[in-house]
């Protein structure tokens, strides 16, 4: 990809106030975003990609804040020649409201006090995240999109787009997601939150930026990672293998490979993520309960699930499909065979890519036909 078509990290401050679904409002919301590719003259090739719990705006390879090229979180799906082809589509990805990668969240400064918001930051919902994305698109001059695409919490945002702004996108693609979390998923989120809240370094959310509750956040991430993998995937990846030893240590040390993996994931996460944001993101997911309206023409939808995903199951994906069928939407559904559990939406680029690429291709072709046929 040429440097000219990759924006690199950008930031925009929204004018006015953002009203929140749970009451309250925010002023001067800053949104961190990146764009890839070029918006065509008819502005009909815009694709918004929504990230999951721990993602950010850097969806595909491109320059980071230091100007040095770094990999994106959905490389293989988004890029030149990929399913979401940045040579063809204008891809936008923004850090969500409440996030910690540039967009206003609990780590940002409260203008009223001049100190970080911490837990005084209002609770945000998936709908609020989508409203902020809509405001960003207004500012970028994108009135209507080809598609909104996302997996997991990103898939929830795609669903929320269909319900809230059905007239602003031709299509949505929702992968590895659910219309609402079940008790089990809420329970895992709560274990993560409890670990953060129980960490003495948490200080009621008013910890200093360089001394966050690292142990609690790392444990939360460890629990999260267990839910992202499948039993089969874990057995294949780790089994009961020991790391750097042949016999059991008979001590409380990291000895099984799976322990070492989780410890590593926890450590790495703490370096790039904020504990308060983890609380807000998981709560936003817990609150999500999607009920699209009956009386509107919904965008065309592609719903994808993965066989070994037990966090957001095929059964839950079918529930989304049923809801869409009841509302007369043009919906397609595929269940992709994968051993990678919930993480499959990040890893299964081949099969998922063929489905998403084919779906977008068709939406783009039909969109182009409409455009030459006259104003819509």
């Amino acid at each position: 990809m040429s440097a000219a078509t990759t924006s690199g990290p950008q930031a925009l401050t929204l004018d006015g106030t953002v009203q929140l679904a749970g009451g309250g409002s925010l002023v001067g919301v800053e949104v961190a975003y990146e764009t890839f590719g070029t918006l065509d003259a008819a502005a009909g090739n815009a694709v918004l990609v929504c990230h999951a719990l721990s993602g950010d705006a850097h969806v595909a390879s491109g320059p980071g804040p230091d100007g040095v090229e770094r990999p994106g979180w959905w490389d293989g799906m988004v890029g030149p020649g990929c399913a979401i082809d940045t040579g063809r589509y204008f891809v936008i990805c923004a850090n969500v409201l409440g996030g910690c990668s540039g967009t206003t969240g609990p780590a940002a400064l409260d203008p009223a006090t001049g100190s970080p918001w911490g837990l005084r930051f209002p609770l945000v919902t998936v709908e609020d995240m989508v409203d902020v994305q809509a405001r960003l698109l207004d500012a970028l001059g994108v009135t209507r999109m080809l598609a909104v695409v996302g997996g997991s919490m990103g898939g929830m945002q795609a669903l929320a787009w269909a319900a809230r702004y059905p007239e602003r996108t031709d299509a949505i693609i929702a992968a590895a997601t659910t219309a609402r979390l079940g008790a089990q998923a809420i329970a895992f989120n709560e274990v993560g939150r409890a670990a953060i809240l129980a960490d003495p370094a948490f200080e009621g959310g008013d910890y200093a930026a360089d001394s966050q509750p690292a142990d609690g956040l790392a444990i939360a991430r460890m629990v999260g990672h267990i839910t992202y993998l499948s039993q089969e995937g874990m057995r294949e990846k780790f089994g009961r293998r020991l790391r750097h030893r042949d016999e059991h240590a008979f001590e409380f040390v990291t000895e099984f490979e799976v322990e070492s993996y989780l410890a590593y994931q926890g450590r790495r996460f703490v370096e790039r993520f904020d504990a308060n944001t983890y609380l807000y993101m998981t709560k936003a997911m817990d609150y999500f309960d999607w009920q699209p309206p009956y009386d509107v023409r919904l965008p065309r939808c592609l719903v994808l699930s993965f066989t070994s995903d037990w966090l957001f199951t095929t059964h839950q994906a079918r529930e989304i499909v049923r809801t869409l069928l009841e509302r007369g939407a043009d919906v397609s559904f595929a269940e992709i065979d994968s051993p990678y559990g919930h993480d499959a939406f990040l890893l299964e680029t081949e099969c998922q890519g063929a489905l998403i690429g084919g779906f977008l291709d068709r939406a783009y072709a039909e969109r182009a036909v409409c455009d030459t046929g006259g104003p819509r």
């Binding site: 065309r300 043009d330 397609s332 559904f333 595929a334 779906f359 291709d361 072709a365």
Partner: protein, 215 residues
């Protein structure tokens, strides 16, 4: 004639039985070739169901709305009379609960078009009766141990199923595939045809007892 060409001939024939502008649901739609044809040339509103990811990917790429599902799970997500025509092209013999699926199809659409291989075909009878071997032919190319077909029927047996399900056999066509040519068979089809296409409809009101419709 290859299997693919045979399938295409069978689909072309089915397509000609479907009125323009119909709402069509194809159960076991594969890559959506029939539905794409119906949408483009007949102005039909279409939807497919298929069990394979390859089939579903093909449909999505053609812009055909499709749901990946195992038909043995039934059609419970589809409301009564949500389609005009259901197509079951060489699908019925691959599902476990045929009777249930036929009844479900009749609930969701007034008319079903069903194509299936006929085991009453004379060479099949001879192969089983004289040679003591399971039938294998151009339209039944599989060995008994690797066939996707879990139910085998004859044209006469299929007629009985339709009657037993309280449905009406509106039309019936039979075909023979020999030396790469597909020919319609009018005389003694249960003996002379390899493939049948049946149009099955819900009986007109008042519904006879045993009608599968629940409303």
């Amino acid at each position: 004639m290859t299997a693919a060409e045979l399938l295409r001939a069978d689909l072309r024939f089915i397509a000609d039985l479907i009125p323009d502008g119909s709402r069509v649901l194809d159960l076991g739609c594969g890559d959506g070739a029939l539905l794409a044809h119906l949408r483009e040339t007949r102005g039909c509103t279409v939807r497919g169901v298929d069990i394979s990811t390859a089939g579903v990917t093909g449909c999505v790429t053609r812009g055909i709305p499709v749901i990946q599902a195992d038909l043995d799970g039934g059609l419970r997500d589809l409301p009564d009379d949500s389609f005009d025509v259901i197509v079951l092209s060489q699908t019925l013999q691959e599902v476990h609960n045929v009777r249930h699926l036929i009844a479900e199809a009749a609930r969701v659409a007034q008319r079903s078009i069903v194509s299936y291989p006929n085991f009453g075909y004379a060479p099949a009878r001879l192969r089983l009766g004289l040679r003591g071997r399971m039938p294998v032919s151009e339209s039944l190319p599989h060995q008994w141990y690797d066939t996707p077909n879990v139910h085998f029927t004859t044209i006469r047996d299929f007629r009985l199923l339709v009657a037993e399900a309280g449905l009406t056999l509106e039309r019936e066509f039979a075909f023979r595939v020999s030396h790469e040519v597909v020919r319609q068979v009018r005389l003694a089809p249960n003996l002379r045809a390899e493939l049948a296409v049946s149009v099955v409809s819900r009986s007109l009101d008042p519904r006879p007892p045993g009608s599968p419709r629940t409303t």
